[in-house]
Point group: D2
């Protein structure tokens, strides 16, 4: 951390700041120029409240040199996190394929889709029971009933399930869910993150619509600082000025996060683009860029889906895509081994 | 609503869509061109799920002509909403001045600030008990204790209090609070909005950091559709590429919302800019643009505030500003009466 | 400037960097921590190429402490720049009102509007001769003929004229223009800026649609570094996710720029919002926030304007607004004198 | 195009609008509802000035159904454009690899890099002679001398050259250049686009930093409407809130543009990310997503590059990447043939 002091700061306050920092086991290096002083602070400052320092009368600016996250930081945990869920694992060189409908609608629908995507190679079943909708007049999901239908589909296929929680009060319903998803709009619902940190099921955190990598990793840190190390990050597009696609998928997130954190990265091309015709090319792009997996919407009858039909693939289209993804993943592994 | 059909759509499906719309008491006007058909839909379509229609095989695009919000819509409620809180009111031509510290810290602090801002003309006391912080390692607020200290300050000064709720589980603690604030990060926490709609205390909804006016009004609609009509909107800056200020204050929100909705609009120049030197000019700008009021951070000792010190005014500075704001508000009323 | 070195940097390269900096009359203060070294650089680094340093093998990061602009920097020129144009001046406590149509269309139109806005108190006539249009099929302006019509209107009214240049090759046509405008899309047309810096007419630079304050000031610096100190800055809204307004007017630019630079600031509420109903409230807000002036579109027949009709005021509406702006400017001066 | 009329519009003006549209060979379909009228306009409206219609007193809103670009539109030119440059071609299933330094610096440098990238499989040599720099104090490129050095490198290697033009006045210097690049900041320098449309060398247009696909295609349309059909589009990242990378590379641009236009798409992972460690994964992602090619910065000595060193690859790293890209391109072709 680098603290730039104002011109002619009060000497006593400077000394007091330095002592305070030293009490926190930080080393302070003072660089006195003609008109300005700079304090270089060395040590683990990730748990310092930077705002407290920035607010001091004598301080002009504070710049972090070190990342403000610790548990999620690859520097302190060089090995990739691998998350085991039932018979599958996420991270560690495998290709995870989460697939299923946006919303759970009926028993036939969810079991039908689950069987189809499993046959195509999916390793996790996705499906929404609680749906965050911009309008109070839109379909809000089947709720508890949707959760039960997902469990039935799991029973039929063995696929672990991932579904979204919208509020801490719903947690008891998620007792038998395999992976709990936190949606983009809840990425900074800090109370929810704390509560998910205090239980042990894997948590998949979607990136907020206008969040930076650091804010996203800080949300992971909220879960991890409360005890739960099983966090998966899911890029689902960020808001930009482009309106042709729903959001703009940021595939640079893959290599960036691979360098900053040890957590696995899943890509969601369905929500990111909002258009089924863009799902396959971007899913291929994500695998070639190094993603740990994908989450893809599949619906047996997209034209009558209760939500987000335009971005869902039919099972046949998913099957063709899954084959190509598996082949590409194999190609990438061979290339990597050769280099 | 205008529905653009794809080229050569299935006739039967078109008829079925038209019947379905007519069943919902909507009139459908069909415009058949050489290569395209357009359906013009007339009537109250605000409660239609636009995604359901967009997802149909025969539909290329759906464009709304009507706003998707109804309770918050000025077209259906031409009169300004005026919210009465204890001895004061928000909206209806008054100038509301909410003032107080970012965080409640101690009894002395909150009572001292409350007395000072009341003397300067503030009509509502603000203060944070639960603080949404990006880092799990930052100060998270005094919580329940902070709420109690706010009540003490109210007892001393008579000022009604506004403070932020972060999670539906905290609601019992807000039983004796005058105005419940929903923070920017929770603007689309739909479960929280529903629960606040089912009680009757006024709710002040801050605009999400990258939200549009329509999304913001839809969040108000969530509260109102659940029964609570006492909603206040608070503009607190949106995220832009500018990093010199914390956010970019959007004063156009004032006249835009005045035309779209009947709800009162409060401006927060403190959080928007993050710099105390910018608070006064933008507060003046907000009043001249037609805001119903302001929410301003005031701290007796900004250099030692537990959060957001750099944006807080000292009581003396607030006093000088409040005098100017009151004078400007008077000037604007005289101008308006004259024109 | 603060240079953070990588861990265990090559000692020789560090010494060589330090010597290079000292040769440029900069003082270098070295702060050696346990794992990191920081170089604090004191002196005038505004003309250093920061990229050259950032690119060195031994450097992890470079952070500027000092602004990269010098001629435009208030620190080095504490007095406000006041620009004299014919009988009027811009800056220095006056209220500049630039008004006129988006496009010059006919002699009658431009002379009619010029007389009307002068009678209402406008001090500068605006009008587009060269129009930047997104589509090659849209009306591109009258060009040289438009310039001649503007001069006729000036002859009739005495109002100085401001009009936009789109390319350096057009400069000869601007020989007798009073203020040359650089549009938002050309804010970083560096060749154009250099050429405008090499002549002496005042240049008004509109802020780029997604530019930061610093980038904008660097564009002013391009003109000033080439010799021309007569630069005016014009805020015209930035691109955000909001689509209801054309752009989002950033009134915080006024106090921010007043602290960073000595150049005058003009606000354009017409282009920023794209809606005539929003012009008056935001123009009032701009004056209360401390703007040096406004540029407002006025058209005798907005419904038949050749471009941007929806945002133009009729002369009567401008007249009513101008009276209120002048009264508000007077009120603000009285308040300021009293405080 | 759909025109929504205001409530109770003047009948005569409506008739006059309809006649005017019919005179332009458009069919107008009128849909009269209880409270609103909608005009559905069928035919080629791409050359209509939408602003003219939106400005009419009787019109509330105009929504385009048809794209406003014609020459660039795949609907009217279903076949891919293939651009032949010396011995190579761009588009049509080939993998174009443009490589070279950000700036041309010396004869040794540019010839050395040119030979190296050719040996690795590059098909076009890139190098900057005129450099758009935010600061007037930064290195601005070698100019005309840089152009001459590029030609020498072409003579040595046979590689066609692409380099950036910044102003129409520089055109004579580009007489013997193979591909003229328009930079992101000049994407809407309409005069430059018109002049490049009036000559016949291929033009590569980089996407503006905050431009939409449609605005980008409209810039291509400016060139094409003036006669030159040889346009290449280059995605180089858009500005977002993320500051870790310089920009955010939008790979969805590839399948979106493939559907909207017949022009070839090149991806620039070097400028988009600003970090050499991110170039390889995103280049692989771009090829798997379907790009026609890449433009990659390669420098023999990135640590001493005169600009943009941190994002340049060394020739060895480019060689390794090029091999992987060629293998991946082959894999993708095999997959495509099989499906």
């Amino acid at each position: 951390m680098v603290v730039l002091l104002k011109q002619n700061p009060d000497r006593e306050q400077v000394e007091s700041l330095i002592s305070w920092l030293q009490d926190k086991n930080l080393q302070v290096h003072r660089s006195e120029g003609a008109s300005r002083q700079i304090l270089g602070i060395v040590g683990d400052s990730s748990r310092l409240d930077i705002d407290l320092i920035a607010a001091l009368d004598i301080v002009e600016d504070v710049k972090r040199v070190q990342e403000p996250y610790k548990s999620a930081n690859r520097k302190f945990h060089p090995e990739d996190t691998v998350i085991k869920v039932r018979d599958t694992q996420i991270g560690g060189g495998t290709l995870t394929m989460m697939a299923g409908p946006c919303s759970v609608e009926t028993e036939d629908q969810i079991i039908g889709v689950a069987k189809a995507v499993k046959a195509s190679g999916a390793t996790v079943l996705r499906g929404g029971a609680f749906k965050p909708r911009t309008s109070p007049y839109s379909f809000q999901g089947l709720g508890a009933e949707g959760i039960e239908l997902l469990k039935l589909a799991r029973k039929e296929t063995g696929l672990p399930i991932v579904t979204e929680i919208m509020d801490a009060s719903q947690l008891p319903l998620f007792d038998d869910i395999d992976i709990i998803q936190v949606g983009a709009r809840n990425m900074q619902n800090f109370n929810l993150l704390k509560i998910l940190g205090a239980q042990d099921k894997p948590v998949m955190i979607k990136r907020g619509m206008s969040s930076t990598y650091e804010e996203w990793l800080m949300s992971a840190e909220y879960v991890m600082a409360n005890g739960n190390q099983n966090v998966i990050l899911c890029e689902r597009g960020i808001r930009t000025f482009e309106t042709y696609t729903r959001n703009t998928l940021d595939l640079a997130a893959i290599p960036v996060l691979k360098s900053l954190t040890h957590l696995p990265i899943i890509i969601d091309p369905s929500h990111a683009t909002g258009k089924s015709s863009l799902v396959a090319p971007l899913a291929m792009g994500a695998v070639a860029t190094g993603a740990d997996g994908l989450i893809i919407e599949v619906h047996n009858d997209p034209a009558h889906a209760w939500c987000d039909g335009p971005q869902s693939l039919k099972p046949e289209a998913f099957d063709a895509l899954a084959k190509k993804l598996i082949a590409l993943h194999g190609f990438m592994k061979t290339e990597e081994a050769a280099s």
